[in-house]
């Protein structure tokens, strides 16, 4: 029979709860008998008075360190001894990894007469354990407590049994104390937040106004979430979404999964930023029909051919190289880039710059992730590198992204002019929440290109159309909300299907050419258009066709090519 010792510490006012807890343990013992497990309740209050003056700390330490579980219950005060018991248990836990400590505070209305100065001990204790990073629960009555605890105990027992079995086979598997120390401080996003709010200040009115009136924000914990949210909403569309993810991961409790996801998202954020710049330049270049004029150097053409033929997604460094080439093309041909700040960025994307160095380091994080070997320091390092990348791209805080869906036209009898009704979704860090399946409507005097994802600064009619590199899958399929997907790669050597990444979860979305050919004859075509499924096919086929066109225009590649990349 295995015995699990539970140390119950509570203030004297919770006598009834202690009694009920004892009954609960008895009942549980009956249930656990078949599992060969016995719960033994250790209650100090039985002899606390007797030893209060003469007890030795060692005596406590010994008793608590022998226990598997310490359960602390509090209501209006934290008795001197109970607090000490908690401290002892916590110290033993830090040294030995056990006992498991659960702390419960009773909630409920209080008779005013019962409130004494001792209530301050409760507040002080809550603050203390919060500072220690220890989490506590609350309970309203004994049923609530027992049922909360029953769930915890079940999990504990399951783990206990598994550990017991694992111990037989794997030997000692204690937690890595180094990891515990790493977890003690949560450094995630401190650097990123501090640097980015300053970086976007010239480009974001909100950031500037905030910093002007709150120069002390770093010392005011209440304001830090606001700063983070200003950054999330300021960075253009997809980048805001990625930064939101980083901010969220940063708030989590320490775990290996947290570190892993933080690293993955640092890499992904940098990649999305580079993709956005490259796709803006490619779109604009296509507008200039540069490829057909044959003004590209051989190296530049090779880079573009590589991008369009690549049957796997480019790496961060691959996108840096593509960005460099595209900027070269714009500069050499005296073309105005779609984002004027890119001219200033040009020196920063040359080899050896802080920007390219940071990108290379972020690229190398993939190796750490593959080997599943990383530490908090790697997270801190990646955060700093990402910060460098985003600081350089802070001008993106001036830009916005929008997904235009369909455009309606409304002109009725005696109207001097009609209204163009633009149905759209604004893409922001929080934008997935602002979606309802009715979308948003804006009245304009002229149409814009529909089913398009646009990058713009002030007026979305002056825009960079990012299709077919960035698409809104939901808009194309006549669904509400937005599903923004970034071009990833093409199945060049297979079925030529286009692979996109859905920005929310990085999952694969495939666009393939439908076999639903539109009728040539007008009347039949009209009839064909009446079916929404046909129109959906038309939209997705259009993405496919646009990609073929841009590929042909910029890299001179025909669809049928199977030529290998050198």
């Amino acid at each position: 029979m295995k015995t699990i010792k539970i140390f119950l510490a509570s203030s004297s006012e919770l006598k009834e709860e202690r009694e009920q807890f004892r009954n609960f343990i008895n009942d549980e013992n009956e249930r656990l008998e078949t599992k060969n497990i016995k719960l033994k309740l250790v209650r100090w209050e039985n002899f606390l008075d007797a030893i209060s003056d003469t007890r030795l700390q060692d005596e406590y330490n010994k008793e608590i360190s022998d226990c598997d579980i310490v359960l602390c219950l509090f209501f209006t005060k934290v008795g001197k001894y109970t607090a000490e018991e908690f401290d002892t248990a916590y110290q033993v836990f830090k040294d030995k990894g056990k006992p498991k400590i659960w702390t419960y505070f009773k909630k409920g209305s209080l008779d005013i007469d019962l409130i004494t100065e001792e209530i301050n001990t409760l507040f002080a204790f809550k603050k203390k354990i919060a500072d220690l990073g220890h989490f506590y629960s609350e309970f309203t009555n004994i049923d609530n407590l027992l049922n909360k605890y029953r769930g915890q105990l079940d999990k504990f027992l399951l783990q206990y049994e598994e550990d017991a079995e694992d111990a037989d086979t794997d030997g000692d598997d204690n937690a890595d104390p180094e990891q515990d120390n790493e977890a003690a401080h949560n450094p995630f996003n401190e650097w990123l937040t501090k640097k980015l709010i300053e970086a976007i200040r010239p480009y974001s009115k909100k950031a500037n106004d905030f910093l002007t009136t709150n120069s002390d924000w770093e010392t005011n914990t209440e304001l830090i979430p606001t700063v983070k949210r200003i950054i999330i909403s300021a960075y253009v569309g997809v980048l805001g979404i990625q930064i939101r993810k980083l901010m969220s991961i940063g708030e989590e409790e320490f775990s290996e999964s947290k570190m892993k996801r933080y690293l993955e998202n640092c890499v992904l954020t940098a990649k999305r930023a580079l993709q956005l710049l490259c796709y803006s330049l490619l779109s604009k270049l296509w507008d200039h029909h540069m490829g057909s004029k044959g003004l590209l150097s051989e190296t530049q053409t090779t880079t573009l051919v590589k991008f369009f033929k690549n049957a796997a997604e480019e790496s961060i460094t691959g996108y840096v190289a593509l960005l460099r080439t595209l900027m070269e093309i714009f500069t050499e041909n005296k073309l105005e880039p779609p984002i004027k700040h890119l001219i200033n960025l040009q020196p920063e994307i040359q080899a050896g710059s802080a920007f390219t160095d940071a990108c290379a380091k972020l690229h190398a994080v993939n190796d750490l992730l593959r080997q599943a070997h990383f530490t908090v320091n790697d997270c801190t390092e990646s955060e700093k590198n990402l910060t460098i990348v985003l600081e350089h791209l802070s001008f993106l805080a001036e830009y916005k992204m929008i997904s235009i869906k369909d455009i309606g036209y409304n002109q009725q009898r005696n109207d001097k002019e009609g209204m163009y009704l633009h149905n759209y979704s604004l893409l922001e860090g929080d934008s997935q929440f602002n979606t309802n399946n009715q979308g948003k409507i804006r009245k304009e005097n002229a149409p814009v290109i529909s089913y398009a994802v646009l990058l713009f600064k002030e007026d979305y009619r002056q825009n960079i159309n990012l299709v077919p590199f960035i698409i809104d899958y939901n808009a194309l399929g006549f669904n509400g909300g937005s599903k923004i997907c970034f071009y990833s790669f093409c199945n060049t050597y297979d079925d030529l299907n286009l692979n996109y990444s859905f920005i929310e979860d990085n999952s694969r979305v495939i666009i393939k050419k439908s076999r639903n050919a539109r009728p040539a004859e007008e009347q039949a075509f009209n009839k064909w258009l009446a079916n929404p499924e046909n129109r959906k096919d038309m939209n997705f086929d259009n993405v496919f066709n646009l990609f073929s066109e841009v590929k042909k225009t910029l890299a001179g590649l025909e669809e049928e090519t199977t030529e290998d990349i050198l």
């Binding site: 249930r31 991961i249 996801r261 929440f433």
Partner: protein
């Protein structure tokens, strides 16, 4: 270490992704919907696994940093439960002015939107973790089964506020499909409510196969299918559960309970640690089960009663069923209840016995404590129906009455309606059999007083009418007497004096006129009296009929309406239809015997 891969009657959660099978299509559809709208309705029959689909299937599609679910059950009041869930998640609407000025949820339009306290709390929760917030209203039908219209109105308004203020939140409503119609008012206020909805279908053979094969192929599972018999065993299990019916689908809890029984049949290991091989031979050894859940519940009730009876002789199977009754509504859906509520619902049971039975059912995982609502409830809605079906007529009547009382008293006092006499007649015999709150008692008393007052007013009105008629009769009689006296006087004078013949003639003429007038007045009075009598007869007849109807309610539940019969006797005694009435009374008395 091998694990038991079945969840029995518990719903699946995020940690159970490895053992959740057969719902990939629905998970994908639901996941896509999340990016298409802010409001989703998930509906399906009881036991199709709606909660598991959301908590395990959908949750599993999100990374932890993209998913902050708040599960909300109605509890005592859905508005309080929503507020509590948000508060517990860290929603603190009392943000400092310094912070709140810096965030505008609008987009390029900078109009200031005044947001409600709930929306401010949601915003606070979001800013605490930067995780998308999903408010999941589980078993949403409870709002319509157990909630008042006032509660529903407040809730709808709150949802409107949330949606209009563009908060960082999505709403998922999980509801039994038979209650979809109840969403009519809600949809009128929130038009997008039903535009994205997902029906969770019961499990067909293909899905059952996926579950059984998935469970056996799960790496750490202690259940394996015999090699080469996978399809055969899965089909055999499906057939056993669906029984002789021609249905093409089964419900998930039935499958879970059956698989658990199958496992125990093979291993006999209550700890569910031993390894089991599901084979056709083992399946053939399973006895035929008409209804898996009823069979399961009956076994549990019997087992628990038998075990407890050794120590507590009062515990019997009947008593144990009685104990379970408060956990099911009249419609056979589950009804969460507090411990005190349970004591109140079972006043004839000792609280100690109630506690002991409660612990036994919790240990057998049939009852559980819902932390969200802080109430006890049965593990699955599917068990509520068999519990409801076990109730006696008397118990059902009691519940009807309880609901009747509650439905009135939960309404705001100014909007309440008093109980009718018929309702009171139905309510009264049961009042001592369950606990009635002070407010309910008062409302019943007020209703009685009101009826008494109405009756008294009616009686006074009739009395006044009668008095008026009698007064007119007296007047007529007086006139008649005067007329007769006139005649006698005229005759006397005619005999007495010829001289006065002319005078007498005149007098006679006058008397004749008076007589005619008196006769005419009497005719009028007779008519009025007849009319009054007719009215009285109609009223009495109506009273009699009302009373007869009331007796039906009582005699149908086995009672004898002695007081009512006595009142009916007195009406029959003076009524023109006396014979027919007496015959009716006789037949009612016969029923009493």
């Amino acid at each position: 270490m091998k694990k038991y891969p079945l969840k029995f009657l518990d719903s699946y959660n995020r940690d159970d992704q490895g053992i959740f099978f057969g719902r990939n299509e629905e998970i994908n559809a639901l996941y896509e919907m999340v990016f298409q709208t802010s409001v989703i309705v998930v509906y399906g029959a009881s036991g199709t696994g709606k909660t598991s689909l959301i908590n395990c299937g959908l949750a599993g599609r999100f990374q932890p940093h993209d998913w902050l679910p708040l599960m909300i059950r109605r509890g005592n009041n859905i508005n309080d439960s929503l507020e509590k869930a948000i508060k517990d998640a860290g929603g603190n609407p009392a943000k400092s002015q310094r912070e709140s000025n810096w965030f505008n949820d609008g987009e390029e339009e900078t109009e200031t939107v005044i947001i409600s306290p709930v929306c401010r709390s949601i915003k606070a929760v979001y800013q605490k973790s930067f995780r998308p917030l999903y408010l999941i209203f589980d078993q949403f039908e409870e709002l319509f089964i157990l909630g008042s219209s006032g509660e529903q109105d407040i809730f709808i308004k709150t949802i409107q506020d949330i949606l209009q203020s563009d908060q960082q939140v999505k709403l998922i409503f999980s509801i039994r499909e038979e209650y979809l119609g109840y969403l009519f008012d809600f949809e009128r206020s929130v038009p997008q409510l039903l535009r994205k909805k997902l029906r969770v279908e019961p499990m067909n053979l293909e899905k059952v196969k996926q579950v059984i094969i998935g469970v056996s192929e799960y790496e750490d599972s202690n259940i394996k299918l015999k090699a080469g018999e996978s399809d055969q065993v899965a089909e055999g299990i499906f057939d056993k559960i669906k029984g002789k019916g021609k249905v093409l689908t089964i419900q998930l809890p039935f499958l879970q309970v059956f698989l658990d029984k199958f496992y125990l049949n093979i291993t006999g290991d209550e700890n569910r640690k031993a390894e089991a091989e599901f084979s056709m031979n083992a399946l053939n050894e399973m006895e035929e089960i008409d209804d898996v859940l009823i069979n399961f519940l009956e076994e549990q009730v019997k087992g628990i009663s038998k075990k407890l009876n050794r120590q507590y002789t009062a515990v019997s199977t009947d008593l144990t069923w009685k104990f379970l009754s408060p956990f099911s509504t009249l419609e056979g859906t589950k009804e969460p209840i507090t411990r005190q509520g349970l004591y109140d619902r079972l006043p004839e049971l000792d609280t100690g016995i109630v506690n002991v039975i409660m612990d036994a059912f919790i240990n057998s995982r049939i009852l559980r404590f819902n932390e969200t609502s802080e109430m006890f409830e049965i593990a699955h809605d599917c068990l509520a129906k068999p519990i409801a079906e076990k109730r006696s007529v008397e118990e059902k009547a009691q519940l009807e009455i309880k609901r009747l009382i509650k439905s009135q008293v939960t309404v705001k006092p100014e909007a309440r309606e008093h109980f009718t006499e018929k309702q009171l007649l139905f309510i009264e015999p049961y009042l001592e059999k369950f606990k009635v709150t002070e407010e309910e008692k008062k409302w019943i008393k007020d209703s009685k007083d009101k009826i008494q007052y109405q009756k008294e007013s009616e009686r006074l009105k009739q009395q006044e009418e009668l008095d008026r008629t009698q007064k007119r009769l007296r007047l007529v009689r007086g006139l008649l007497v005067l007329a007769l006296l006139g005649l006698v006087g005229a005759g006397y004078f005619w005999l007495d004096s010829n001289n006065q013949k002319e005078i007498a003639k005149e007098a006679a003429k006058s008397a004749t006129i008076q007589k005619d007038s008196a006769v005419s007045a009497r005719k009028d009075a007779d008519k009025a009296l007849t009319k009054v009598n007719e009215q009285i007869a109609i009223i009495s007849k109506k009273d009699f009929e009302d009373l007869r109807k009331r007796t039906e309610t009582i005699t149908n539940t086995g009672g004898c309406p002695v007081e009512i019969l006595s009142r009916m006797d007195s009406i029959a005694a003076i009524h023109p239809d006396s014979l027919s009435m007496k015959s009716t009374i006789k037949s009612i008395r016969a029923k009493c015997k």
